[in-house]
Symmetry: D2
Subunit: 145 residues, 4 copies
Amino acid sequence: MAAPATCADPAGRVQASFERQSIMRLLGASLDVVEPGRVDIVLPYRADLCQQNGFLHAGISTTIADSAGGYAAFSLFHPGEDVLTSEFKMNFLAPAKGERYVASGRVVKPGKRLSICQVEVHAYEGEQATLCVIGLLTAVRVTPR
Amino acid sequence: MAAPATCADPAGRVQASFERQSIMRLLGASLDVVEPGRVDIVLPYRADLCQQNGFLHAGISTTIADSAGGYAAFSLFHPGEDVLTSEFKMNFLAPAKGERYVASGRVVKPGKRLSICQVEVHAYEGEQATLCVIGLLTAVRVTPR
Amino acid sequence: MAAPATCADPAGRVQASFERQSIMRLLGASLDVVEPGRVDIVLPYRADLCQQNGFLHAGISTTIADSAGGYAAFSLFHPGEDVLTSEFKMNFLAPAKGERYVASGRVVKPGKRLSICQVEVHAYEGEQATLCVIGLLTAVRVTPR
Amino acid sequence: MAAPATCADPAGRVQASFERQSIMRLLGASLDVVEPGRVDIVLPYRADLCQQNGFLHAGISTTIADSAGGYAAFSLFHPGEDVLTSEFKMNFLAPAKGERYVASGRVVKPGKRLSICQVEVHAYEGEQATLCVIGLLTAVRVTPR
């Protein structure tokens, strides 16, 4: 992937930034779908990512949801701009139990400064998906000075 | 720590459950303060917990905030009861940059079924603390059947 | 509408409860769509419902969104049960400016005790709709003792 | 109150803007405390502001909480600047039942563009106060062009 950080290609810019998120490597998460305004991140189940009952910890499903939402916003930014999360809210609909988890971020309202994204996390057991998390997130566009 | 899971001692019950949260070991987080209705969790800085700019990932500060809030509620429950997070909302006030992070959870309104908690994360550089995250969380009491 | 409060008909039960929400009369809001798991409320523009710039006050778009979400949950309850809002989060995407506003509530995840709903408010200028508010809401089922 | 909208005095600027919020007149709400970074709004009970059980509608306690939070942020702005709410989240801790309600907004983190505020609503029965709502709000500073 040559010089993705400075090219206009959204997928390349998202991939380059994602690779700098060291926590994604620690968790074993990777980018799945990257389209303008939409990013999916996949995380295989691991026993060391869990809460007290062996379900994925709510903070970890939130971590991939946050990156999916932030990068969905980032995919619409100009080269050189960066993204920060201002706030998010997550509702946990079902225990996160499955062999893999997919976090999807989608821009509901792009903005010059603030972009509002909807995020979801599904747990997969084979091909069966359960919606575990639904959330809303505000991403801030950071422009170089 | 003898048989804490079945004793009335809140600190013992919190400690025993916290030790079953495998994610806390992976992140290197540990319990700090445990009082009835109040739990603090401390997380030392590590380069592998970061987002693209080297700050603690918002999802990871949320992970310790979620556990701090959940265990603050749990500390008021009866032995044998468990806790789940129903929802939370976090505002990120400053980049999480410091040598260690302390998440505090405090019960604002205990309830038979739902407990509302306020959570905060401070980043410490030496003794200087910066408030990085403020949030609200709903914890659900799960009673054995 | 004969004895709707005790009949099984969801639309009748929603209508009967809605008529007891005195604030809806004060604002001039009325029920539009009522289906199992989905309720829309319509509010015509009035100059006395506004904030300092003449847009609908965020709290008033929230008021109809809250009732739409709560009644969407309520529409799936049993006769005799009641609904309370536990919490909600709203993102304001655009100034609420139009000749009428439509709040839609839709149950994302029904539950024995907690139901999670997505809510939206669109502002209409003629047939042109602008999404002004998107939110998430937790409704609590209250069972008679 | 002579020309408050263009003077530096925060209380004067808040009062002048508050008087343009027509909804506050309709509800019967008025400013109570106005200090830099802190605003309280008081609302006497009225039967026509209620939900189906005769409690203050959650959207109406939210309406005064939103204005209290927004004006707390606004009180720290420069003359000529305006405020918009980007998002809020409210937890309802107890049914809002009392002879009057007081919404308090307090700036937790002022910012060049975004200010984060904590909001609370207490219901009063005589001198006895019950905390009914706790919330977090993001206010946006709007600068004249």
